[in-house]
Symmetry: C2
Subunit: 203 residues, 2 copies
């Protein structure tokens, strides 16, 4: 019990700081976040943050890696699944993305703006590009429409899924209250795959 107790507390405190850092960084971005904000959010002393993570920068790197995983992890397992059709993938990607984004609406704008702030540091370590580029998913699109660059359809899919969340602060006043916003996103889970199929089959 003694060993367990210590390990529990250890993990709990470290995890509490990581969790707080994730919240504060995601909400404010690296430059606007204060280590004191994070300490307060975690309910601990400022020195503890440096005791566990050495620096703001180190803590940020850990949070960032986790956030990037969250944002692209939704895609990864689906893209190269040989057992699903293109249609199946469109439905699965859309449903998973919208479900995830309804829980983490500020994730895309955080990751994208931090990549903008530090393209060299972050853009290089993304395995998402290669993953996307050589995926079964993109090959399936290319087979279906050899006349159009398949990445156009990828941009459309990601754009229709992600943009309403990236632009949420601007769109919310147009779209209504939180519940109405949520309902629209739920509708899009059905609609986006239909629209994607339309684009792939006609035009």
């Amino acid at each position: 019990m003694a060993k367990v107790k210590k390990a529990e507390l250890d993990l709990s405190t470290e995890e509490k700081i990581k969790e707080a850092a994730s919240i504060v960084f995601t909400k404010k971005g690296y430059g606007n976040a204060r280590t004191r904000d994070i300490a307060e959010e975690a309910g601990i002393n400022l020195a503890l943050l440096n005791y566990y993570f050495r620096s703001k920068e180190k803590l940020f790197q850990i949070v960032m890696a986790d956030r990037i995983d969250k944002l692209f992890g939704v895609l990864a397992p689906i893209l190269n699944d040989a057992s699903t059709t293109l249609e199946g993938k469109l439905e699965k990607i859309t449903e998973n993305y919208i479900d995830m984004l309804l829980e983490h609406p500020d994730l895309p704008i955080f990751v994208l703006s931090e990549i903008r702030n530090n393209p060299d540091q972050l853009s290089n370590r993304l395995q998402a590009p290669k993953l996307l580029k050589e995926s079964v998913f993109v090959k399936q699109i290319a087979e279906r429409r050899s006349d159009i660059n398949p990445f156009h359809f990828l941009m459309n899919l990601l754009g229709m899924n992600l943009f309403p969340f990236v632009a949420k602060p601007v769109l919310q006043p147009i779209l209504g209250n939180e519940e109405q916003y949520r309902q629209l996103m739920e509708q899009r889970k059905k609609l986006i795959p239909v629209w994607m199929k339309l684009m792939l089959d006609h035009g």
Copy 2:
């Protein structure tokens, strides 16, 4: 000539600072931008910045108002034009947006991330929501498809136009070099209106 010379220099220096501030703020965001960065970019002394604009915050407000105008100004004149069809508006919005974004690719991510950082301050003063909500454009969409909330199509249009620029740092490695990226965006000027019409007419 004497009067002109002073006025010229005056405007030139003030404008030089504004221009530098626009560049630095847009590239780094408010929190990561240093007033010394801006002064250096403008080729002037730090004190001059405060002499002309009183504070970083004030300078930022001026830059931000200008950037918001740039981002939404493309839409405004088209949305309520009674002399164009829905199809005509889709083509015009897409062409104008992509042309503008090719010149200012980091504009959307800057504006959206700053609105996230300060929703109360910035979101309220946007007249874009009301403009969009009550536009002829949205009414024309609603007439065409009474079965689907017209804002779905608005989100699709904006998503397909803006997202490739918002996500440029992530997409660039997939899409190729700068020139190839540009060519894809040029293609989208023709493609997006076609796709939008498809979605409006079928499904």
